[in-house]
Amino acid sequence: MFWRILFDSIVRRKLRKALAVFAVWIGISLVVGLLMLSIDTGDKMNLELGSFGANIKVTPVSFSIPVTVGDYSLNSEKVSAYLEESAFQKLKEIFWRNNIMGIVPRLWASAQLNGKNVPLLGLWLEHKIPLEGGEVFVSGARQVYKHWAIQGNWPLSGAENTGLIGQELAGRLKVSLGDQVEVKTDKGSIDLEVLGIVSTGGQEDSAVIAFLETVQKLAGLQGKVSEADVSALTTPENRLAEKYRIDPKSLTSAEYERWYCTPYPENIASGIQETIPNSVARVVRRISETQGAVLTRIKGLMILLAIFTLISCSLSIMGILASAILDRRPEVALLQALGAKRTNVLALFLVEVAFLGILGGLLGGITGSWVGRGLIEAIFGGKPDGHLALLILSPFLGLIMALIGSLGPIWKALGENTAQVLHGN
């Protein structure tokens, strides 16, 4: 009997039921979409923070103090220590391999251009590192130095005799785009086509930049690099990291385990240092602190905004369902007048609302994933992660919201005077 009445109730007044489902559907779609965006924001924003450039600098162990100020070397130090280029390939095999987003080994040398002594910089422009499983990790200046302003084009892989020239040097030596310049060292020379003029705000502005292999050959330093920039996904330093920094021994074994498995900048730097022989990996604090501050605030903001959106959604769904239930007061009164118990009427309406909520939630989950995907792609431009949990959760979310939204109005309708309601008062 109960199920027959329920079935009839659902089948009748299809438009009204469709409207209730539609309200839950729209509400849940937006909530799921925004939740997807909130969940993905941390990771996507962290990737986005790569636009600040490298946050770890790797240099050879040195027994002398570099004497440089800004772009100017006041006392040019003769570099005698180098790192092995091949060791940098291994960074994609270490414990933190998934956190290493970009590597740029660099070799500084001296050369002559138009009879003037100029710094020569060789680096990975777009280097391919084969990974386990046949995938390829592409890393180099193009991926890491997103802040470089290039007038012209980046040199393409394979075009060894093409390169870039720093803006300041190009102005000083009157070199233009497309010019062929002869770069000469003690070990050889090359005719380099200037494909781009680069402005970096750093030492590169007064240097000639070419493929690492080219510079290694010109400097007679095959397989060697003088430094490297690494861009890594990190977790902002918190109290635990600070506690470790002040006194590593003060950590309990559980805290140490948590610290060890968290990608704090210092942890990743330490992993890099262990992998590259005779190296010192330093966290560039100006970058890592900025990244940490941005990430902490954005995560906090998204959580708060998601909470308020959930409140807003709950209120909307509650309002719509309340309106639908209020419209059906005579039906409630009639059932009671025919002898139905309050619990029976309550159960009948709640089961009906639950069905509508689950249906709306299910549809909302599907379209919400699509909305979230669209939002993530529009804002971050990357491929969103899968969120199966949200899809599974959405019917329950629809159910809870529908029940919360309708319980009050149903209870109110049950409390009204049956005769008066049926009389139309």
Binding site: P66, V69, R282, E289, T290, V294, L315, S323, L326
Partner: protein, 369 residues
Amino acid sequence: MIGKMVRKSLFKNIRITLWTLVTLTISAALITMFATVSFDIKKRMGNTLRKLGPNAVAVSRFSENERPLNLDEWGQFRAIVKREGIPTVELSFDIVTVEGKPVVLAMADSEKLAQMTPYWIVIGHRVWKEQQCLIGKRVAELLKLKPGMSITVHQPSGAKKETGYSIAGIIVSGDENEDRIFVPEPLAETIQHGFIYALLSVPEGGNGIHRLNTQLGQVQSHIEIKPLREIVHGEEATLKKVVLLSSACLMTVMVLTVLGVSSALLSRIVERRKEFALLQAIGATRRSVISFLLLEGMSLAVLASALGFAAGTLLSEMVVRQIFHVSVTPQVTALPITLVVTLVVSLLASSAGVARALKMQPALVLKGE
């Protein structure tokens, strides 16, 4: 007449009026909050980023070899940045020897430097006094120095050839500052040659830097302000994403609010079917019923927008204080947005209600069918 009817109707159905007003106010408050946060967030995030360190460096266009140091040019620079209220710290450099090893000696105002480099970790004391110095981590490691120890700096170019300092702290910065010694020295008194630059935290990133360079160009200064490109670029990219994120939230909340407000107003009309039937039965024209309902909806929307604007501004203050630890700037533009959205939705929902109310047969409704 209609105005009087609306007033009486709102007070007569006080329970329904209050419920509708609460729903509308909550919706308006959420719109105000999201709009305020969306508009204010760029500024707040920008200010936060500007407190994390410099984003530009001021240097002479000429190297020491090309042209000797001219302190007058720095005077013009100082006047401009002071007028613009831009946090700045000037550093002058010299090559000195400590224990026979060449090291870069940086001279700067200790408090200004501390404000400009909050990202440094300093083992020991952050702000140092006269005859005290901060030393970079690499210098400390290579010279085996610790806080509290003393060093003698041999400064061939200075007025005083030898100066003793006690070490206040060791700097961990991950950059070239780890290779330097920082001492407090007034610039002009000691530096007649060497190298000077200034670190600046310029609001508005690239645009702010361009504006400063234009002003320096107007006074024909040879000082140039160069952006720290990775910082400026990173900040611009971050702020763009933050604005997009908050706009997405604002749009979502607007759609949800439209749903909520419409349903609240519709249910208000549904509950009062008899009232409208009675109005029609005693001779009210369709036009007057429409005007009555629309005016009622508009009155509620205007009141809810005002209350919602106040509540929403308070909510956004809570959100911004929680995240950025500063007060929000109330956004006047959030008021018209809230008002327009609430009014338009109210009018649309009221119109739907009116259409529904006018479809009813007064006789049947009054009979209770």
